[in-house]
């Protein structure tokens, strides 16, 4: 079972730590409480970044620090190689925010990580967080708040907005996983169902989806098959998009009757999920649910 419950002790390395994104996000992750123990970069001249030791390879970094998680902040064309290196070094959690990973590379990466039993979150993800503990990636602090919602999202920005509005109203998250908007990815919605079903801190599920792909439909099937009992809420973007038109994410390409807003809404509703069509309605719906419980 995939268990994304990292904490403030989980030792994390950052691949590409001497790059612009690597530097910035290492600093922000550490400020949030993440235990960044090292970085990896081929740049010979830099031996540390903001006091964090920089290693020449993942293997060296893992050997010296005992890291079990890595956030890879490298270019799209370098990502597959970076992942191979991390898996070979024994990393168990791999978060890859990079956008634009070639789909054929993603297929190879998926097989690689699954065969090795590594949890891969990404690509094209803002990452994941256990609010109040640690975050791997760059989910905005303004949206993070410890609370009862298990949040899984295909869309970064839309989840920031939903998370922020709910946090403002006092409702936070148990664990937040951005699975990313790419069609072929490491961790998919259904993979997270067993964890959220058994996690004691998760009282309800929030799903942020968008048109295209099969993730929401597959999730609906799994929720039914696993007899998921907790309340579940969903918001899906792209209701008014024209068919066959890709908006941003390649995954938002609607192929024929698959992946349409209506298909997803229906599938989730049949699995007992309450599906909302605006942010405002979603927030009010969730708030009234928790109010009724008290």
């Amino acid at each position: 079972m995939i268990n994304p419950r990292v904490d403030r002790n989980t030792p994390v390395i950052v691949q590409g730590i001497t790059g612009r994104a690597g530097r910035l996000h290492s600093r922000q992750m550490r400020a949030y409480g993440t235990n960044i123990v090292g970085g990896v970069s081929q740049k010979i001249e830099e031996r540390e970044v903001d006091g964090t030791p920089v290693f020449r390879s993942c293997e060296e970094a893992v050997r010296a620090t005992g890291a079990i998680a890595s956030v890879a902040l490298v270019g799209a064309m370098q990502l597959l190689d970076a992942m191979r290196e991390a898996v070979a070094a024994g990393i168990q959690y791999l978060v890859t925010p990079t956008e634009g990973m070639p789909v054929h590379d993603a297929l190879k990466a998926r097989r690689l990580t699954r065969d090795a039993g590594v949890t891969w979150i990404g690509a094209s993800t803002p990452g994941m967080a256990v609010p109040g503990n640690a975050k791997l990636g760059f989910l905005p602090d303004d949206s993070l708040k410890a609370g009862p919602l298990g949040l899984m999202s295909k869309s970064g920005t839309l989840s920031y907005e939903a998370g922020y509005r709910l946090a403002q109203r006092g409702i936070g998250q148990s664990v937040w996983v951005g699975v990313g908007g790419d069609p072929v990815k490491g961790t998919c919605f259904p993979d997270l169902v067993p964890f959220f079903a058994s996690d004691a801190q998760t009282e309800a599920l929030l799903i942020i989806g968008e048109i295209g792909g099969h993730d929401e439909e597959d999730l609906a099937t799994t929720l039914k098959a696993e007899n998921f009992r907790k309340p579940a809420f969903a918001l899906i973007a792209g209701r008014s998009a024209a068919e066959g038109v890709a908006m941003g994410h390649a995954g938002a390409l609607v192929y024929g009757s698959h992946g349409t807003f209506e298909g997803k809404r229906q599938a989730l509703a049949d699995a007992g999920v309450e599906v909302f069509s605006t942010l405002g309605e979603l927030v009010e719906g969730i708030i009234s649910h928790f109010r009724c419980q008290c």
Binding site: R111, P126, T157, V184
Partner: protein, 387 residues
């Protein structure tokens, strides 16, 4: 990028796949009989959608005069929401059976799905499931070819050899060109075993473009045909006009939030003009990207207001608003009121900068939308009173 049939067939032909001889006529090309294969011909409107035959843009011609008539009748018309900008004229194939062959990325299975059927053609959806064979393969050439051979072995008569040969060739192209989908329907199979791709649908991976020189060259040659991919390859972000008659220009970031905003505006009876995922992280301290977008939005003749919606997770709103205020005068053609809704990092600095520029800042999206509505209503009543 979803290739038009002509480009897909050229790509296949370059990789040794037999296709019926043909040529492309765009709306400016004077008909050139020299390129023409022997008749009779099919005249096929080049839009990126299925069901073209049923939509009336695949027609037969026996004389050269008929070719010109059909082409003129189709060119410039709109079918399935797309303009027919070109037609492919190709030699009509007769006396062949129609099979089906498809390869596509299967995200849930994490592999390449190969689909084969001895019956194909326009009614493939109604072919009984028992005739359609399908299997998922790992994404390497040995596994894919083995998968093709297993499926083809179950096909009847001459179909077996033809589908095996075609499948193995397509498997190589699928991997070499990093496609997401190759679908040949119909695959013509002659009684003597010869075969050819009657139609071709190919979707390539935009993310792989930097290392696919052949596709990159195609995109350069025919950028007008693939505007979204060309734009992204050139500028590094996504922009699309969603309603040419739209009244609200959108300056937004994030695909999901931008789509949601379009949904909500439409639900509220408002008319957004464009979709945009500008990726504020990619601005890199320059106004270039913003000026491009503002300029493109100014092409919308009905645009009456610009709505900015940025949730700044990492972006610094102070820097963003500095760039915005610098970019607005650089795009003077967009002369409309600006409504800004910003939230996140650097909000206090952004507030000061916008207030100096006379732009009101909202942190609540609903309030920003209310201001957008008031601008549109004001403009409408203005134009009524002046009329």
């Amino acid at each position: 990028m979803y290739l038009i049939e002509h480009d897909a067939k050229e790509l296949l032909a370059e990789h040794g796949v037999p296709v019926p001889a043909g040529c492309l006529l765009d709306d400016k090309v004077v008909f050139d009989g020299g390129l023409l294969p022997p008749g009779p011909w099919l005249i096929k409107g080049q839009i990126r959608a299925g069901g073209r035959g049923k939509a009336g843009i695949i027609r037969e011609a026996v004389t050269v005069a008929e070719i010109a008539d059909h082409a003129r009748a189709m060119l410039g018309t709109r079918v399935k929401g797309q303009r027919v900008d070109a037609v492919r004229v190709e030699q009509k194939v007769s006396g062949a059976a129609e099979a089906y062959l498809g390869l596509l990325i299967d995200p849930a299975a994490g592999g390449v799905r190969v689909i084969m059927s001895p019956r194909g053609g326009v009614d493939i959806e109604t072919v009984a499931a028992m005739h359609i064979q399908s299997e998922v393969s790992p994404p390497d050439i040995e596994s894919l070819c083995a998968c093709v051979r297993r499926l083809a072995a179950a096909m009847p008569g001459v179909m077996a050899n033809a589908l095996r040969d075609a499948g193995e060739r397509l498997a190589r192209i699928f991997l070499d060109c990093e496609t997401l989908l190759i679908e040949i329907n119909p695959l013509f199979v002659h009684p003597d075993g010869r075969w050819a791709a009657g139609d071709a649908k190919i979707v390539t991976d935009d993310n792989a473009l930097p290392r696919q020189p052949m596709l990159r060259a195609l995109l350069d040659k025919r950028s007008a045909c693939y505007p979204e991919t060309a734009l992204k390859a050139r500028h590094g972000f996504d922009y699309m006009v969603v309603d040419p008659a739209g009244e609200i220009g959108l300056l937004t970031t994030g695909a999901g939030l931008s789509m949601m905003l379009i949904d909500e505006l439409r639900q509220a009876g408002l008319k957004p003009y464009n979709f945009l995922d500008i990726r504020t992280g990619g601005l890199r301290g320059e106004t270039t990207r913003l000026v491009h977008v503002l300029d493109w939005i100014s092409a919308g003749t009905n645009v009456r207001v610009l709505l900015i919606n940025i949730f700044a997770g990492i972006t610094d709103l102070g820097e963003f608003t500095r760039l915005l205020v610098a970019a607005l005068p650089e795009a003077p053609r967009l002369d409309v009121p600006v409504v800004a809704r910003l939230i996140g990092n650097g909000l206090p600095a952004a507030r000061k900068i916008l207030s100096k520029a006379g732009i009101r800042l909202h942190t609540d999206l609903d309030e920003a939308v209310a201001e957008v509505r008031s601008h549109i209503e004001a403009r409408t009543s203005q134009s009524h009173s002046s009329a």
